[in-house]
Amino acid sequence: MFEKFEEWHRNRHEYARKWKAETGGKVLGYFCTYVPEEIIYAAGALPVRIFGSHEVQSTTEPHIFSMFCPFCRDCLAQGLLGKYDYLDGIVVAQCCLHMRQAFTSWRIHIPIEYSYYLYMPHGIQNPRAYPYLRGELEDFKKSLEKWTERNITDDDLDKAVEVYNTNRRLMKQIYELRKRNDPPLTGLEAMEMVTSSQVADKKEHNHALKELLEELPERKVNRDTGIRLMILGSENDDTEFMSMVESLGATIVIDDHCTGSRYFWNEVTPRPDTLSAISARYIERPACPSKDWPERTRLPHILKLAQDYDVQGALLIQQKFCDPHELDIPTLKLHLEKNGIRTYFLEFDVTVPAGQFKTRVEAFLETFQLPTDLF
């Protein structure tokens, strides 16, 4: 039932090449989910998220100081190794320093037709961010028009927004099913559904989601739900890890990842000016920790997710050296624990030590079988 999504994610390079051959359109790689894909889609291009490979590499050592996160280095490595040779352009929306560095090194060393640095504000809780971002999106739109030699009309934008909103709505409906006592999908399947939406044409993805929704509510998975877990933290597309955790008597029922719920949780709410509406959507989406200040909006949002999905425990994962998450995790951990949700912290690298992590997650899960007065 989820094979299509798994295949799209696994064979993402082949998918993009085929899309390009069939449509003659341009493929634009993006480095952060704050990039407003709707505008790219309205220009007739295919936005694809740049992922790493989870394979050990040494090609980025001359380019990025080793104290920067493994994900940004893994992404850059894919470019340097030629895995993304089909890209016509790259774009970054201002995010953490790490991904911005991967973007600039890519721009310097990998010949590319088009690159764009979108000055997405960090101060998203500030009302001044709305008109400011709207203006930046206007510049981005003009730049795309020049590059694609195609005028992006209001109608193009509205249609793209509708495609994207549909995708968000459908994925949210599927996530809703994970609230059940016996969720009809695993955390791994949910992850592959979302990561595939970041690399596939949304229209095609929507079609697959609609088909899935026809059957999924009736699906009986041949497994016990076990301990209901939440997973949250840095970028995570480590399917091997997800699979391992769910083989130990647990199901990941919800997440707060940019490869998960953060990517699609809110829609573009229509306004007379579509660019203003898109700006508002990206400003108001569940925040990346790098933008979550002065108030901590992530605490109530994550706790509500945990409660809505009846979570027993949370895996806090962090890419090594990921400062934004390192800055939030201690407070998040306390907040969840104060509210009765046990937590366990794991630091991720390009590859994770599967055996050691298995033992550690097993030990964490065993705590749920012990008498509660031990804690």
Binding site: Q101, Y119, P121, R128, P324, E326
Partner: protein, 432 residues
């Protein structure tokens, strides 16, 4: 060929720099005794703005404080342990960890209890700054916190919309300052502070420009104690007065061929904050006749430069020098924002190429023989793109080395290994 020996002389302004610094930290602590206000924030803050609240407003800037903690190795170690016990990672900004550790331990590095600020006023420049003070505010029990987002791109792409985004936040900030302090804001004091800030940062650029001379009148280790005054009080009159006197003195040194070191034979530049607990390395260089003339960090963190008519770098003309008279709050804020966004050590956040170009300019104009890059594990902001800078310098044929360390956490610095690496580099330069 006989070795050339230059005259050397201690700086007349040295003691005043020390006095300004110690008064700064003391005045902050004592502010409440005179009914004054204490605020905390990053050294990159728009520090001129709180000046509109009165003459009795004193700040504590976090990065210089964090560096000061580093000098006190035992205290720094306790700070690190205290914050790590709270679950924070040891690869986070070392200044920030020194600062948080001081709050948790309730100890001020210069003695006494931690002097809690009345409010926090800062800017968000890297992944850490807003979060630094978000957490500081929480550790201090909820100190009011205002942070301005300046992430509007590099200076050469600045436009009205981007400038307005920063200025409108500043305007909101002034209303916020009035609200949290209950004081009426005085625009005249703001205007004077903006004049001061432009003057002080331009003067520092002028002083750095004088270091193009051979022999260099200043060495970088000395410059660390001089540039820092701008990180503490760039908006204050005493800061301007100090740099005027220093500029005059350095001009005299150049005219009289007084060098920072008597045996200058080779000139190097560094990059990023140094490992503050190991500045003896800079003296070690001098043994071989090598003077570090500065860096983009020492020059451009607080010095505002511009390209002069002859194409070289020099101090940026201040608004007053350009005949601009500031009359309103908004005009003052626009000038302050535009001035600050032209800071050299800001552009690299957007592109390593911009930084490499500036570094190559320094190599050429300051007659640098080699570059020593500090791959600083304590600051991801200033090490952003540093590996690309190394590649660019190498490609341009400039001798370059790097050493790994940490500006504020001595656990991550290996002095002997670094000395060995530097010795190998000096051999390449022919200095050893």
């Amino acid at each position: 060929m006989p070795k050339k020996v230059y005259k050397t002389k201690l700086l007349d302004q040295w003691n005043e720099a020390k006095e300004l610094r110690s008064n700064y930290y003391r005045n902050y602590v004592k502010a409440h005794e005179i009914g004054g206000i204490r605020w905390a924030g990053g050294a990159w803050s728009f520090s001129a703005i709180p000046s509109g609240l009165g003459d009795d407003v004193y700040s504590l800037t976090g990065e210089p404080y964090g560096a000061t903690v580093t000098y006190n190795k035992d205290f720094a170690a306790k700070c690190h342990e205290a914050i790590e016990a709270k679950g924070y990672a040891r690869d986070l900004c070392a200044y920030m960890r020194n600062y948080w550790g001081s709050i948790i331990l309730d100890k001020y590095v210069l003695g006494g209890e931690w002097p809690k600020p009345d409010f926090i006023w800062t800017t968000h420049i890297c992944c850490s700054h807003a979060k630094w003070y978000q957490i500081a505010s929480e550790l201090e029990g909820g100190v009011p916190f205002f942070c301005i987002d300046v992430s509007v791109g590099p200076y050469h792409e600045l436009n009205e919309r981007r400038l307005n985004y920063v200025v409108s936040q500043m305007m909101d900030g002034i209303e916020w300052l009035e609200k949290v302090t209950g004081r009426k804001y005085d625009d005249e004091k703001l205007i004077q502070a903006v004049y001061n800030e432009c003057r002080a940062t331009s003067l520092w650029a002028e002083i750095c420009t004088l270091n193009k001379a051979v022999p260099a009148p200043l060495d970088e280790k000395t410059m660390y104690s001089l540039y820092v005054i701008n990180t503490l009080m760039k908006h204050r009159k005493e800061c301007v007065d100090f740099y005027k006197k220093l500029r005059d003195e350095v001009e005299d040194r150049v005219a009289s061929q007084i060098g920072a070191i008597g045996n200058e034979k080779f000139r190097v530049m560094t990059d990023t904050q140094p490992p503050w607990a190991f500045l003896e390395l800079w003296r070690y260089l001098e043994k071989y006749g090598v003077v570090s003339i500065g860096s983009l960090y020492t020059f451009g963190l607080m010095g505002i430069f511009e390209v002069k008519e002859d194409g070289t770098w020099g101090p940026r003309a201040t608004p007053q020098e350009s005949g601009v008279e500031i009359e309103t709050r908004e005009q003052a804020l626009r000038i302050l924002a535009e001035w600050t966004l032209s800071r050299p050590e800001w552009q690299h956040f957007y592109s390593p190429e911009l930084k490499s170009d500036m570094m190559m300019r320094i190599v050429k104009e300051w007659k640098v023989d080699g570059v020593m890059l500090h791959f600083n594990r304590g600051c991801e902001g200033l090490t952003m793109g540093i590996a690309e800078n190394k590649l660019a310098l190498k490609k341009a044929g400039i001798p370059v080395m790097h050493f790994e360390g940490n500006m504020g956490d001595e656990r991550e610095f290996d002095l002997e290994r670094t000395k060995a690496e530097i010795e190998a580099f000096l051999e390449i330069l022919g200095a050893k």
